[in-house]
Symmetry: C2
Subunit: 346 residues, 2 copies
């Protein structure tokens, strides 16, 4: 942990007040919803309230300081001097409160996030375990679980149950189960719609193990597909393959996205892939780097990213296929084992 | 829903850009992680990206507008004029981005939150259903579930499973199961500690139904308690009773906290109640009003709040008892049915 704070120090022009709780978790191991870490050249102070102070005191290499529940207000009174702050995280009023308390604030963004984007071996091990459990969850989901005639939310519960049985710490997020036309809404929740036969079901799901998440999508079929659906599935699969092959250290998230997007835009489904190709994974389900038309990120070895093209025809159906991969110097490591062939469920 | 936007308009001195996704959910029913609602005198525009735009278009009374994934950057280019913004939510850089785009920004706080704090009958119905399910979950937890010899996290999983079986939409948050000395950490997660006989187990848990949450705590015993533990339990129970009796519309969150706190501070456990007495419940697990030494809130009829005093002796044990109540003009409605007598589990 102290190694992480040391690496952060190397990036700083002035002391940094870290207020994103996930960044504090990454740097210290403390999981608190009301916390700040002040990293100075010669020390690191960890501020939190009564509820978390005992846990904070057990952490080596930082000084734990108990604050009021109104943590930022307390810091505004107690601190002095010039500090960087996490400007893309800290709400506007809190920054003003610190300024009014006399602090000389320098807005900084992405400092801890750039460390978090490159995973170390321990982090990759947790990620690979999350993937192995997700693989087993999917194997059991398609072989043991009934789809047709049940509500999307019932299938979503089965993912939760199977993650538990396979040893995940928790689901990484509420599983998306989008059947038929619901699948055309890329972020629909699993709802009350009853799954019918002869349609596609988008299952977007992941789990957390040792802090780190997986995030897979597979599109399953509850019967024979017509020619258009089969073609759409093949297009998405080809786009994903192109995306996977485009990724290596030094390539940009924008170029990887463009490579996969070109496959869809060169098909009858041009324009039907409305979101980005993917995103980083780690302690958060969405983190750096991004793979999209708007991304300004460049891959580095040790990044963990999703690759998830899709085709969505509103009111009709959606298809998405998503793997999670580790970026290497000459390509990727893809730990995902569950098949991308179209799987029929009943 | 439109009634909520109309009531918000009555509070505004200038158009308000709502960027808290939960506030947008409250005002429009759209559940999106990347969203903004601009409430002007004569219209309301709902901005979101491709992933949610189909859902947004289905909402009556608002104009759905599709944006780039970088929603705030897009708004900075597209909008002009003078707007209020949610200053305690919007990160500092986003406010700067809007300013640099030429918007005349007025920081505003708590406008939607003050509407949300007073629940309407539909919201109260969802809350009462969440409480009824939590009651049944606790009844089954103490009668069907084994505690001694199992890990805290295994018992926490049983709460998740029982909520599902009883018809909750999802757990409201990750259940806290703190046994023995772990119970002295008010926000400890359920961990790998194996529960022993003859100790206290703090179970802090809730579920979500129709968007609205419950949040209960009970402290259970895995055997006979010594005299000190029994006395501590009685002190916490008396403090909670005093807190419940102090609450009605017009009373302050600070005074309710002080009333309960005085009971503990007049006992051998003076100083061992380190957090606030409670918080509002609704779409969020923590919302207005607050009950604490730092609170500046005054109760209104229709508030829903937790009442949760505790006694914590670091390294030894913790005790907390928590109900959820509706504030009325002359007191409270307490829908919680599960007993507050000390329950023995095995």
């Amino acid at each position: 942990m102290n190694d992480r704070i040391a690496r952060l120090r190397n990036l700083l022009e002035e002391p940094l007040l870290v207020t994103n709780p996930v960044n504090v978790l990454y740097l210290t191991g403390l999981d608190s919803s009301n916390v700040a870490l002040l990293v100075e050249p010669d020390r690191a102070r960890l501020f939190t309230d009564f509820r978390y102070i005992e846990s904070a005191r057990a952490i080596e290499g930082v000084e734990a300081v108990q604050t009021m529940r109104s943590l930022i207000g307390w810091l505004a009174e107690e601190l002095n001097g010039r500090f960087g702050f996490e400007a893309s995280v800290l709400p506007w009023t809190f920054a003003e409160q610190l300024r009014e308390g006399g602090l000389d604030l320098v807005p900084r963004t992405g400092l801890v996030e750039q460390l978090r984007a490159v995973k170390d071996e321990g982090e990759l091990e947790a990620f690979r375990r999350a993937c192995a459990i997700t693989d087993r969850m999917f194997e059991r989901l398609v072989s043991e679980v009934k789809f047709v005639g049940r509500r999307e939310r019932d299938v979503a519960w089965d993912t939760t149950r199977l993650y538990h049985e396979e040893g995940a710490d928790e689901p990484a997020f509420e599983s998306i189960v989008g059947s038929g036309p619901t699948g055309a809404l890329p972020h629909a929740r699993a709802g009350d719609r009853v799954i019918e036969s002869g349609e596609l079901v988008v299952v977007d799901t992941g789990c957390r193990v040792g802090g780190y998440v997986s995030d897979y999508t597979r599109t399953l079929a509850t019967g024979e597909l017509d020619a258009e659906l089969s073609e759409a599935y093949d297009v998405v699969l080809a786009a994903q393959q192109a995306g996977l092959e485009a990724i290596r250290a030094g390539v940009t998230g924008k170029d990887a996205d463009a490579t996969a997007r070109a496959v869809i835009d060169g098909s009858p489904f041009a324009g039907a892939f409305g979101h980005g190709l993917g995103h980083g994974l780690g302690l958060d389900v969405h983190e750096a780097p991004r793979l999209s038309t708007e991304s300004s990120d460049t891959f580095a070895a040790g990044n963990v990213v999703t690759v998830e093209p899709g085709v969505y025809l509103p009111g009709r159906f959606g298809i998405r296929i998503e793997d999670d991969v580790v970026v290497t110097d000459d390509g990727i490591e893809n730990p995902v084992r569950f098949t991308k062939e179209l799987v029929a469920v009943s």
